[in-house]
């Protein structure tokens, strides 16, 4: 195991990275290491451990702004927000169980670096939409900042978005400022039984296009629905299409009634109240309990929502895959057998035809080394990616190759 460097101050963080840049010593950047299996395997000379750069720097509920250090545990942030009836509206997934680790692990820096967003993405946006600003150290070993600590800001380039989802390959964030929002007082879920994928996608589109402000739209085929811990989801042995409604009491009741009326012709309906709703949407968000076989290769496909069933039809049977849909059909989780390429060739071609992209979300180190983890880029797009890496990390010391070879 390589040497671990664990800075405890911003100055130490800068000095470590400046030193690594001078020595061209590559760094495996990590918080709690819960998402190390996401991305391409890396060969690095040292580990940069950010877990000591932790703690909430400031939290002002009335300003809807929270600043915390990258190494802050997510459970700490969630607890503090819950204490003021607020939340991170992008609903970051808990990847622990998926990678065979305990739940509730991981740091804010990891969530932001991976741009992980949950079912509420369809209504409230992704992680990148809630990052307001940061300070940190680029691969040049220089401290810098961008964005601000207010919810509306267009001063300079939005480098916070650039770093969100960059998997630590451009800069190491220290303090991150996020937009936070009120948590819903009440959650309900309307479920429709027995729809096939195409009909379910149409029903989800109808619900998302309704005035009822649906904040989650997922479809579980019958075999997947059977694994839910929610009795209502399992009990009929059929596929389940789930639509979430959140907000204040009166409003949730009224919207649920409206949604049920809208969907009544589609099939048998049921309504989940808050506890069951929260349980189901955690299952959808975190994936592991719905597609539980750890020996399977897991793909995350991002496609135009209406193309979801078409993409699945083109790959699932051929690969013997299990799957379910989130984001109204626009996010497909697909578990395939660990064949030589895990289905990459077929999946990538089919997804590329929709304009979307596929991520090899969980696979063995050898498969992730053999097959691109992220949808390969070509031509001008690949050139821009490489030049951005040159701009922020010219010596290729930060998580080298984690997203793309040579980046």
């Amino acid at each position: 195991m390589s040497e671990v460097l664990k800075p405890t101050t911003a100055a130490q963080l800068r000095d470590v990275i400046a030193w690594a840049a001078a020595e061209e010593a590559s760094l495996d950047v990590r918080g709690h290491g819960t998402r190390r299996a996401l991305g391409r395997p890396m060969q690095t000379s040292r580990t940069l451990d950010l877990s000591a750069l932790a703690g909430i720097v400031s939290y002002e509920p009335e300003e809807l702004v929270l600043t915390a250090r990258a190494g802050t545990p997510m459970v700490e942030i969630d607890a503090v927000l819950r204490g003021r009836n607020q939340m991170l509206a992008f609903e970051p997934m808990d990847t622990g169980p998926l990678y065979g680790m305990a739940p509730d692990g991981g740091t804010l820096g990891g969530v932001v670096a991976c741009n992980l967003s949950g079912p509420r993405r369809v209504k409230m946006g992704a992680a990148r939409d809630h990052v307001l600003g940061f300070n940190g150290v680029s691969g040049r070993g220089e401290s810098f900042k961008a964005g601000g600590k207010v919810v509306k800001n267009v001063t300079g380039y939005d480098l916070g978005k650039l770093l969100t989802g960059s998997f630590g390959t451009l800069a190491v964030m220290d303090e991150i400022t996020l937009k936070v929002l009120p948590a819903p007082a009440k959650t309900r879920t309307v479920i429709v039984y027995g729809l096939d994928d195409v009909t379910a996608t149409a029903a989800m589109a109808e619900a998302l296009n309704s005035p009822f402000e649906v904040s989650g739209a997922a479809h579980l085929p019958a075999t997947v629905a059977q694994r839910s811990g929610v009795d209502y989801v399992r009990r009929r042995g059929e596929a389940v299409t789930a639509l979430r409604i959140e907000g204040t009491g009166t409003s949730v009741t009224a919207r649920c009634d409206g949604l049920k009326a809208l969907l009544s012709a589609r099939g048998a309906l049921e309504e989940l109240h808050t506890t069951n709703s929260i349980r189901l949407w955690h299952e959808v968000r975190d994936v592991a309990s719905l597609l539980p076989d750890p020996g399977k290769v897991l793909w995350r496909l991002s496609v135009p929502p209406s193309d979801g069933p078409k993409v699945v039809a083109a790959v699932a049977a051929a690969l013997g895959a299990e799957f379910f849909y989130d984001w109204g059909g626009g996010l497909v989780w697909l578990a395939t057998a660990p064949t030589e390429d895990g289905g990459a060739g077929l999946i990538r071609d089919v997804v590329a035809a929709t304009g979307g992209h596929a991520t090899l979300f969980r696979a063995s180190d050898s498969l992730r080394a053999a097959v691109p983890v992220f949808q390969p880029q070509q031509g001008t797009l690949a050139d821009i990616t490489r030049r951005i890496k040159d701009a922020f990390d010219p010596k290729r010391i930060l998580n080298p190759g984690r997203m793309y070879a040579g980046v």
Partner: protein, 495 residues
């Protein structure tokens, strides 16, 4: 306003450049006649004016690509322009530059309800997108006050906001994809109809890049179902502090209104005199709080907001009971800028964002600064998100007042940064705030931003002189000063 020195060699080749551009964009797409060029000499920030060398109005992506490649290969600067409604001088021409007008890209290409998006050319107006889907009950959420004229391409350049962006986001939160032409003529597609584009978040940096990274030739934006209903409540307070406290209390109660606007006394009086909206004149601050959404929710929240307002000492409370009354509440606010235009020969609109809790202190200090500079200021405030628009009143025919207005504007923006805010919430940096960037960012911060620019436009030919106070060459920015040696901090924990 100091702009990059004109390139004499380029100016000397003007006739040849015009001729070549006419080959690329035939017909009436190239303007070199002085009287016609005049229409392009400024954008919405009209205190800065500059005639462009030539205007090109392409109508296809291929033409844009050819124009940019030609300019790239010949070292000619290019300034992109949408409708020219921007308020920070982002489309201010250069005397030795090609002004690239995108107005002919005015078609909606596809409406896709199943995926809740619209694919449009960048010259379509913001309102044009909403109008195209309104019959089906949909709309495009960001609504800058210039929405009738401003283009979606310009919105992307500036990351435009509007009164509804606390709840529904700015442009950046509503763009799914673009087709972009780089300065060297290369065409690239980023994102699409899927919700998250892969790879580095290029959409996130292009949106709000003020035309410095590339020229957008197609956009895909999200559309939303129009809320079932909207109602507004008009609230008057005896002080700015009480109005500000009410805003904090509403958000503290977990309510995110569709719109929440505040005006101070000078703005209230100007607006009322202009449109007779029925605003109370005996209050120091006026709030418009709009709740939108399902009927049941709006009715419930209106009552909650009313209760909060009374508890916070509101001396005037009026809830809209009809769509006409709601429109009347907004009429005054929406007319605030022209209303101020009636009481002063000229005005400039500043655009800082502050932590909301700082509002009373900031307005007091703006009052003192205005007095110091001998000018008047009216304030309108996107209260929900802390975006403050002080309107500085002055007479452009009086050079001393112009100078004083610029100095006062700079002082106000410095104040916004000092209290923990930012220089611009939604109008962009452009030329207006360019030289103030140093109050918010140090040289290292700005160098990191400029290196991103280098990744898209290494020669710095696209819209130079905007955003960055000092232009560095990309080669210089790329250099690294490394000091080899032992890891300097022996006390860093190592395992």
């Amino acid at each position: 306003m100091k702009m990059p020195a004109p390139d004499a060699a380029v100016l000397a080749r003007r006739a040849e450049i015009v001729a070549r551009l006419r080959e690329i964009v035939p017909g009436e797409g190239v303007i070199d006649d002085e009287s016609e060029l005049r229409a392009y000499e400024c954008d919405g920030l009209n205190i800065y004016r500059q005639m462009p060398m030539v205007v090109v109005l392409p109508s296809t992506t291929e033409q844009v690509s050819h124009v940019l490649r030609y300019c790239h290969d010949n070292g000619i600067k290019v300034v992109p322009r949408g409708a020219g409604t921007g308020l920070s001088g982002g489309a201010l021409p250069l005397s030795d530059g090609v002004l690239l007008g995108m107005g002919k890209f005015n078609r909606i290409l596809e409406i896709d309800y199943a995926n809740r998006c619209v694919v449009a050319q960048p010259g379509v107006t913001n309102l044009g997108i909403t109008n195209a889907v309104a019959h089906a009950g949909f709309y495009y959420a960001p609504d800058p006050s210039s929405q009738i004229a401003c283009t979606i391409g310009g919105n992307i350049a500036e990351n435009s906001g509007g009164v509804h962006c606390l709840k529904y986001g700015l442009t950046t939160n509503n763009v799914l994809g673009v087709e972009l032409v780089l300065m060297n003529g290369e065409i690239v597609r980023i994102g699409g109809k899927h919700l998250d584009a892969g790879g580095y978040d290029l959409l996130g940096v292009i949106t709000g890049s003020e035309g410095l990274l590339g020229v957008v030739t197609e956009v895909t934006v999200r559309i939303l179902r129009k809320p079932e209903t909207a109602r507004a409540v008009l609230l008057g307070f005896p002080s700015v502090a009480a109005g500000g406290a009410c805003v904090a209390a509403i958000i503290g109660a977990g309510i995110i209104p569709g719109g929440m606007e505040m005006m101070d006394r000078p703005a209230i009086h100007a607006a009322e005199a202009f449109v007779h909206a029925g605003y109370p004149l005996d209050v120091e601050s006026l709030l418009i709080v709009e709740l939108d959404g399902p009927q049941a929710e709006v009715d419930e929240l209106i009552a909650t907001v009313e209760g909060i307002a009374r508890a916070q000492g509101a001396t005037y409370v009026r809830v809209s009971t009809s769509e006409a009354e709601r429109a009347a509440f907004w009429a005054g606010r929406k007319a605030a800028f022209p209303a101020v235009g009636r009481i002063s020969p000229d005005y400039i609109c500043m655009d800082g964002t502050i932590p909301r809790k700082q509002l009373p202190a900031v307005l007091d200090r703006i009052g003192a600064l205005a007095e110091k500079h001998g000018l008047r200021v009216a304030n309108v405030f996107h209260a929900g998100d802390g975006n403050l628009h002080p309107l500085i009143l002055f007479d452009a025919n009086n050079p001393k007042e112009v100078e004083a207005a610029e100095r006062l504007g700079a002082d106000i923006l410095r104040l916004c940064v000092e209290v923990g805010g930012v220089l611009t919430g939604e109008h962009g940096v452009g030329v207006e705030k360019r030289d103030l960037m140093g109050t918010m960012f140090d040289e290292t911060d700005l160098a990191h931003q400029q290196r991103l620019k280098c990744a898209f436009d290494p020669q710095g030919l696209l819209n130079p002189g905007k955003v960055f106070p000092v232009l560095h060459r990309c080669a210089e920015l790329g250099r690294m000063h490394v000091h080899r040696g032992q890891l300097p901090f022996p006390d860093i924990p190592r395992f």
